[in-house]
């Protein structure tokens, strides 16, 4: 062999041996030569971030429409949204936050022959949502905050019965993030710190109600519109304010909390009148308490609640009519949960809740469901590819038998880089005999989302 052939080979081998001898050599250093190391802007006064979002839904199991109904098959949503966020911290004690979203659903243009109904267009087509807009004054001993915000008081992730402050988002069950599941409202909140304990007092000036499916929605099978008799806002009628007090803290290694809240039933109750279906929102008083406790790799959770003031009235006749007078009753609830950390970046969540009507009468079924109302949730989450890909499976069950209906959701969340994120998922409904899922039957769908952060 000529030296011109084997010398380069030998040189390469020697270089490799040298590299083995010194794994921290030039090759190591060069891998970090262009690392971004700018210091965090932890003390900046103003912080602005934006998200441009594209999201969509494709119905996979919808039936052909009845005459005069909307055709919900196929493309069900195609949204472009802009989500700006602004934080302003003029001093150590004062801070302001605004988080809003402006969105447009193009499905109404792209499928103009689908006979979209006005209430559904109003709910989804062009939306401006003020997710958060609040001003806070913070001291070591107390905090005062006012503005649109969410206060989460429960311990369970999915089946909490301790969330009286913010109404739920229920227009498309099973399709929301945990942090989208509650609607913000204008609150004034004061917190006072007592060692390991926090005393919270809250006054709600705004009376938002649950976001429910509306006439023309694929989750609203009725053929008539509901007349929503929403409560007054606090600034319109001072007597319409809601509010409550909560005490929370750490006791014997358990996080515990208890509260009393006087407000409106966020989902209200239906009344069938000669002029049509009406939804009224009655006053409720809720007492609640809960705890979470770490036990090895598991967080155990327990919740108790008592609600007083739930409205109900029997409904009778072929053309359903509410039989006056509308009466009130009380309801008890309890929930258990377990959040188990598994090996290899995995997690298992189990939750069970029961609501019980102690003064149950058959006439309550039309308004308040059964005497015992059970729900359960099972979720498995696994992260891989250095936490860039998260796979989620979740089942939300109604009742304690297989025939009672389930909502099943599969999701894959892929962080492409710090600027781009995406998600693809599928949700399916097996209504069984669960009234809560009857309206969702046939609404199985694919959903996706792509986000650009800038």
């Amino acid at each position: 062999m000529k030296p011109s052939v084997w010398l380069p080979v030998l040189a390469a081998l020697c270089a490799r041996v040298a590299a083995e001898d010194d794994p921290f050599g030039d090759a190591f250093d060069s891998g970090f030569s262009e690392v971004e190391t700018a210091a965090p802007a932890s003390n900046s006064e103003l912080y602005i971030a934006n998200r441009l979002i594209h999201r969509g839904q494709w119905a996979t199991a919808h039936n052909a429409p009845a005459p005069g109904a909307t055709d919900h098959r196929g493309l069900a949503s195609l949204v472009t949204a802009w989500n700006p966020r602004l934080e302003w911290r003029p001093s150590e004690r004062l801070n302001m936050l605004v988080d809003a979203e402006l969105s447009q659903d193009w499905v109404f243009e792209l499928r103009s022959d689908a006979d979209w109904k006005t209430p559904y267009r109003d709910q989804r087509e062009t939306q401006f949502a003020l997710n958060e807009a609040r001003l806070a004054h913070t001291t070591p001993g107390w905090v005062l905050t006012s503005g649109r915000q969410v206060l989460t008081w429960g311990f369970n992730d999915v089946l909490s019965i301790l969330e009286p402050v913010n109404p739920p988002q229920l227009s498309q069950p099973g399709l929301y993030d945990a942090d989208e599941a509650r609607l913000s409202r204008w609150l004034t909140e004061a917190r006072y710190y007592l060692g390991d304990w926090t005393l919270q007092g809250v006054i709600a000036h705004e009376n938002r109600t649950a976001e429910l499916p509306v006439y023309g929605s694929d989750y609203y099978p009725a053929t008539a519109e509901t007349d929503d008799q929403t409560p007054d806002q606090g600034w319109e009628d001072p007597g319409a304010h809601s509010g409550g007090i909560r005490l929370s803290g750490l006791w014997r290694n358990a996080d515990i909390a208890a509260f009393i809240w006087h407000g409106y039933n966020p989902s209200g109750h239906l009344e069938f009148r000669p002029g049509g279906i009406e939804r009224h929102y009655e006053r409720l008083t809720t007492l609640g308490a809960g705890l979470s406790l770490p036990v090895g790799p598991t967080i155990l959770k327990a919740e108790l609640a008592a609600e007083d003031g739930l409205a109900w009235a029997p409904v009778s006749g072929n053309l359903p009519q509410t039989q006056d007078p509308v009466r009130t009753t009380e309801r008890l609830g309890w929930a258990l949960g377990g959040d188990l950390t598994l090996p290899a970046n995995s997690r298992l969540v189990l939750e069970l809740s029961t609501r019980y009507l102690p003064d149950y009468q058959p006439g309550m079924a039309a308004t308040l469901d059964d005497e015992f109302n059970h729900r359960w949730a099972v979720g498995v989450e696994h992260s891989t590819a250095r936490e860039r890909l998260t796979l989620t499976t979740a089942i939300l069950g109604f009742g304690l038998t297989d025939n009672n209906g389930q909502a099943i959701r599969l999701g894959a969340d892929w962080t492409i880089n710090d600027q781009w994120r995406s998600e693809l998922g599928w949700v399916s409904y097996r209504s069984g005999d669960a009234p809560a899922l009857q309206a969702a039957e046939g609404n199985d769908r694919l959903f996706w989302q792509v986000e650009w952060l800038f």
Binding site: E34, D157, A178, R182, P294, L340, P343, R386, T392, F447
Partner: protein, 273 residues
């Protein structure tokens, strides 16, 4: 979109200990065996209070970078090391906070809380699998925990030069399979700087064949009698090929921040950034 609130179950203890890793102290005692050297390393005290900002840069095999920035505060209590951390970037996790009570009693599990700003909610979260990746980086939770000396056997390999500094190279071999199962490592070769007993490099051999991790701490600052690493670099290799890199950069280190014990409570966590 996810049904359940995000907890990153393994995250919290790791971050706390990561911050504690900043704290090393100068010590020039002579040592002869691998075990004695590692006892000197293990014996370093730490400052009681520290605030710092941290940038964590994750680099994939194509050179694409992702950056996480955090603000941290840690303090030594009678029974524990407590840390409070908030994400500053990227924007989708900004304001997410963690509170960790890392107890001295080895029989007592850490207490950890997560704060989710969009829900205004703090929640208790559970402990971790030590061999899991820390925040998607090349560090595992085991990397950021102080090792129990008795769980490893030590052999002084030789003396070398790293730059101008003489170092000892010590091989630490897992003393049992349970240690391998927990940490993911069968052995480590650590480079201990002789002048001050700082570990400035390490080569970790993983349980999986042909996988190893290289760790390098190239920049330090000596302040108030403490040696503080400013940069940490970690490389994951498979079959000799680099598959991922991580660099941690510490800045704005303050050993005397004006904070009280009440800063390390759930109440403070719930105030957010």
């Amino acid at each position: 979109m996810r049904l359940f609130t995000q907890a990153h179950p393994n995250l919290i203890a790791g971050i706390a200990i990561l911050i504690a890793m900043l704290v090393l102290v100068c010590n020039t005692a002579q040592a002869e065996t691998g075990r004695e050297i590692m006892e000197q390393v293990d014996a370093q005290p730490s400052p009681e209070l520290m605030a710092a900002d941290m940038a964590m840069t994750l680099i994939d095999r194509n050179g694409n970078q992702r950056v996480r920035r955090l603000r941290s505060l840690s303090r030594t209590f009678d029974d524990s090391e407590r840390s409070l951390l908030f994400f500053l970037e990227p924007s989708d996790v900004r304001g997410t906070g963690f509170l960790v009570h890392d107890y001295d009693d080895p029989q007592r599990n850490d207490d950890q809380w997560l704060f989710l700003p969009s829900m205004n909610k703090s929640k208790r979260i559970a402990g971790s699998d030590q061999s899991s990746s820390f925040m998607g980086s090349d560090l595992s939770y085991a990397d950021m925990s102080s090792r129990n000396l008795d769980e490893w056997t030590y052999e002084l390999l030789d003396e070398e030069q790293v730059g101008e500094e003489p170092v000892w190279r010590v091989r630490a071999t897992a003393a049992s399979q349970s240690v391998v199962d927990r940490t993911g490592y069968t052995e480590s070769v650590v480079y201990v700087q002789q002048s001050n007993h700082q570990v400035i490099r390490a080569i970790h051999t993983l349980e999986h064949a042909n996988e190893r991790k290289l760790m390098n701490l190239p920049e330090w600052e000596q302040r108030d009698g403490f040696w503080l690493p400013l940069v940490m670099q970690v490389v994951s290799q498979e079959g000799g090929q680099t598959v991922h890199r991580t660099q941690l950069t510490f800045s704005n280190i303050n050993l005397n921040p004006e904070v009280s014990a009440s800063e390390f409570t759930v109440q403070r966590l719930e105030q957010g950034l």
